[in-house]
Amino acid sequence: MLYSALAGLAQEVEMADRLRADGKIWVVVLVIAVVFAGLISYLIRLDRQVSKLEKDLADRQRSQRSADREPTERL
């Protein structure tokens, strides 16, 4: 049933041909691309912030550990 429908009616199924011919679809594509770029930028920023925090935490733990190990200088 679907096969015969496909054979005869392919051209008669309304699609956005005119929209694409007008070039208006570019507007939609650009909008979605902007949204996506914004979200990805935010994600990258978050990732960098987390990396920095991890590094600070590791540095603090390292200096804490070395401070515990070495006795403070006696003057």
């Binding site: 679907l2 429908a5 699609m15 939609v28 691309a33 990732d47 990396s51």
Partner: protein
Amino acid sequence: MKKYWWKALAVLLLTYVILQGLLGAVPRQPILNESIRNVYFHVPLWFGMITLMLTSMIYSIRYLRHGRLTDDVVAVEFANSAILFGILGCATGAVWANFTWGEPWPNDPKLNAVAVSMLMYFAYFVLRGSFDDEQRKGRISAVYNIIAFAVFIPLIFVLPRLTDSLHPGNGGNPAFGKYDMDNRLRAVFYPAIIGFTLLGVWITELRVRLRRMELATEE
């Protein structure tokens, strides 16, 4: 940023999906019209959700076997991301259904099965919130996670095929098959699945790293 090749891959794949998904040629199908392109954005969310839930369950099993708290953290965060994808999947599905099936939530077995599954996973988080002790929280929620996933799979894959359903591939409908899933669709569909899944993993990884730091500073 930590090892980021797979993150760059996710961004690349999803950019390709958005561009090619909207501008590329698609089969001309009645009722669906251009909305067939939702196959690139709605369906991969569900594939991603299943992958994330499976991974969550695997880490729950690991936690039960080794008792390491870090496995429990990873399990929870994968479940979190899975729920996020599930909510988005329901929302995008409702939008799509509204214009093709006539209403956003018809009384359909697969949709109801999905709703039940989502409620099960919400209950998982409520369950976790009710415990104070980390070890008990981890153990009981790990067991619940495994059971939830074991129920989830037959609920959404087996049950809808046994009864009437609107969803393609269920209830006597042909799947997105020979006539409406051709190679043009597949060329965008498969990268979309990988791209969205990787995005889910990225979000999970960030949350896990944050949680680990929280735990480290708590000590």
